[in-house]
Amino acid sequence: GPEVVAGPSADPKCFVPWADSTKFFKFPAKAGPYRVALANGYIANTWRIQMIQTAKAYAAQPDVAARLKEFKVVSTGEDVAAQIAAVNNFIDSGYDAIVVDAQNPEAFKPVVRRARQAGVVLVAFDNILDTEEAINVDVDQKGLGVYWAKWLVDTIPNGGKILEIRGVAGTSVDRDRHDGIHETLDKSGKKWDVIEVYGKWDDPTAQKVTADAIAVQKHFDGFTAQGGDTGAVQAMIDARQPFVPFGGETENGFRKFCAKYGADGLKCASGGTGPAQVAVAIKTALAALEGQVVPQSVKLPLATAEYPNFKDGVNFYSNLSDNFFVGNSFPTCGINFNAAEIMGQSKENK
């Protein structure tokens, strides 16, 4: 297992500790090149596909490739037990570091223990692990909710009726973002009436529930969505609901709409962390393997853009897919994928 040491970390600009109390790890330095594995769960959506493309692209960058002996990716589907088995297999097969996008953040206690015993560096991202024993590269999900709500509070002068389009029930991401939104709204002192629907982070579903809500409620003063935002805007357009402020995620399609209709009232705050966070996770893993000091919990910055700052080719891409997630730059970590790079990656390989 790693030694718990005092901060700061080797690269304090990139590896920002989550809180003042965050521990710092120092693993015994190993000689490279390393065998690193990515244990992904579900794969069949754009976010995950993009994430895997990014991981491959990052691992192929010359300075990273030089430090890697092997980079292996396995996707095990929805089933958390299969993912646990995959991580165990990686441990047994002698990989030096394992990067995980967990299906269920709570389910990895035994795995974390096993990795520790085997001296394997375990780094979780996106859905981080509920543990202080492994490294988490963490998005501030609650902070994202706070960000959207704060922006709505600032943009809508007198409060009003908000449609909150939630994600998948039963997940911690959904809960954290929801909590962030509500705490902020409640504290604002304005009067808010929030209607909640579940859009499952999916455009058609979000569109359908939004359309239903508009048909029944007639009018909203603001929107906030955790995903499926493009669909939600589409539903506004289809229902001829006048454009109102919208705090949402970082889908390319959403930003396209925001750029196009911003002047007509669709003022947006678009924030989130794109799939490129996998690169930060790999970077962290490599740093740990090399014996550098890293925080147990790394706080990822949010990639945000607000009305009227949507610029084609910079923070959205009109010629690319709507499903593409745009928040891919972490300048403090020297990670700055542009869209074409990610989407074109395997085309060049093939």
Binding site: I43, A44, N45, T46, I49, I52, Q53, A169, G170, I195, E196, V197, Y198, K200, D202, D203, P204, T205, Q207, K208, V209, A211, D212, A213, A215, V216, Q217, K218, T230, G231, Q234, D238, A239, G253, L320, S321, D322, N323, M343, G344, S346, K347, K350
Partner: protein, 325 residues
Amino acid sequence: MTTQARSRRGGALSSRLDRPVVVAFACIVALLLLGSLYSRSFLSPDYLLQQLKVASFLGVIATGALIVILLGQIDLSVPWLVAVGGMMATAATAWGPIGAWLAIPFGVACGVALGLVNGFGVAYLRIPSMIVTLAVNAVAQGLMVVHTGGFSPQDSSSPAMRALATGSLAFGLPNAVIVWIGIGACAVFVLNRTTFGRSVYGIGNRERAAYLSGVDTQRIVLLAFALAGGLSAFGGVLLAGYASKAAQGMGDAYLLPAIASVVLGGASIMGGRGSYLGTVAGVVLITLLQSILSVVQMPDAGRQVIYGAVIIGMLLLYGREGAAR
């Protein structure tokens, strides 16, 4: 004996209304009235048209499910055939001006192709449909993942797809509903007035007897699955038009509702019995139920419980098998 007691004719020689269909439509009205206690808007034309529009996607998909269920089979490949339809159509849109024309037929054709694989497995390899279609679903998912990752595909819908799914021609009637009516009319015709339809009912009732009657059962089954695949994909095309883009998970929410609406409409899951009108009722019921539960702010847990309980309650009203004696 159990089958005879409450049996319905297949291939309608008469067009008397089924009891399940009548009750299902009554349930729809009851549901709306119940909803209107929460908000008058549930009875507004806007809301109802919106529901019909959304129902038409499920309606198109459930049409395929009905045909397969009438055969006594089941199609579990719906989720990813829907996705294939939407994603392939939008991908074709990128092929310049021809692409815009080809988009819809191409998407549907891809669904038909995978449907043919289903049908081939069921009819010629005699693998239980539940499992071939499951495998084909997995293959379709695999293909779409490769497709998304490897070809940075276009996934915005063509204007034609948009118009088909969201536009409206006359009297504010959404085009999607018109498309559904068209497909429904074809389905009713095919099931009731053609040798194909009659054969489907026959095979669903007793495949062995149909085979010995000189019906080319294998070809019929193959065709039925191809048709179902095409309809799933077309549902995906419409859905992509509605959302103005295609995405991988877009079909996930359609498998169980499609089966449930067919059965809520009075069809027997064992095959050979069921009508299109019933399926229409089932589709509207499911759509309304989901929508109302979503709008009345029911937490997700409660929504699931009520959704399941209402389906069972309604089936107990009219969907029961005959008693053993």
